[in-house]
Symmetry: C2
Subunit: 171 residues, 2 copies
DNA sequence: TGATATTTGATATACTTTATAACAATTATC
DNA sequence: GATAATTGTTATAAAGTATATCAAATATCA
């Protein structure tokens, strides 16, 4: 229904050539044009690639990047509640509930009512959570980040990280 | 229901101090820890920031980054069909249909049946589409990319772009 | 040539991510 | 002590992303 009437887009029907403009360009690669200079475009494509690789590397542990980041934060910051962890990661509190449900049902972390503010749930890693996190760290370092180092070199990798952090913080 | 029993996580109830571990850490900023060294994490945060800014800068034209990228490709690559454009942008063909419906309903582009392969829809920018794209390019260059140049400097921006492209292509 | 396979755009559908409003329980404020 | 704010939660919706399937059209090849 959104399809317009059939129109010949070829500049002119040339009987001598068998192909119109749409066929003539078929073997030519599509030009990205100014898209190749757009930082946001490259950023998005690179991010997708890196998340794909992260998922592959850590597949044996069935952890997404977001789940891994939660476990990391819980390990480094004991005694924090849901709101604090979610805010730090840019996760909205309502969405963090289901995410924690998943981690808790796998016995990777636990919620405990704070005795000082009974509204809060203090988040802690379980023993299994610590084990899984340790394994995940090793996989990420040995497979994921190592592959990045191989591609960019340590110095470039550090430079890249610095610029990305600057954008994330100051932009 | 997923909430575990109330447990006091404070190491020991010390009567002399009014605050347990969960309260004592409340004024301390959360430590990102190794999260700060994870490229994927910084990449994601930076990408979100950049897309937010893109949306702000181009808000008068009501274009998302994805829509902008489609218009750019159509302008540079006349005579291509939906599959070619969608594949280039990493958009799945079924999802590209609704996206094109939106652009076509705003008279920014049009589908035309190819006379050489009547299965295909040749995509073309409308006159309005060209005008809107030109305005969008100016907004992006003058506001969005200019701000990035200000933050990073032209040389660093080019370096960043190069590394992101390398990741997107070779990783 | 004609039967079979492939391609194209489209529909239906589902899952994930992200976003907002509202609620009960609890705590803070004045 | 009344009112406001916070916490975790539920419900819900809008995007984004993914797969299977279909009819029409084209390609393949025996």
């Amino acid at each position: 229904m959104t399809v317009s009437k059939a129109v010949d887009v070829t500049r002119a029907p040339r009987p001598a050539r068998k192909e119109g403009i749409d066929n003539a360009t078929q073997d030519t690669p599509i030009q990205l044009g100014e898209l190749a200079g757009l930082l946001g475009y490259s950023l998005k494509r690179a991010q997708l690639k890196i998340f794909e690789d992260f998922l592959r590397c850590v597949a044996p542990l069935q952890l997404t990047p977001a789940q891994f980041s939660v476990l990391l934060l819980l390990d480094r910051n004991p005694g924090r509640n849901q709101t604090e962890i979610a805010n730090t990661l840019g996760i909205l509190r309502p969405n963090f509930v289901a995410m924690l449900d998943g981690l808790e049902s796998r016995d990777l972390c636990a919620r405990m009512r704070s005795t000082y503010d009974r509204r809060s749930h203090i988040l802690v890693l379980t023993e299994k959570g610590r084990v899984v996190l340790a394994r995940a760290k090793k996989l990420v370092a040995a497979k994921h980040e190592a592959r990045l180092n191989e591609l960019l070199g340590p110095a470039n990798r550090a430079t890249l990280l610095g610029m990305l952090d600057k954008i994330a913080r100051e932009f």
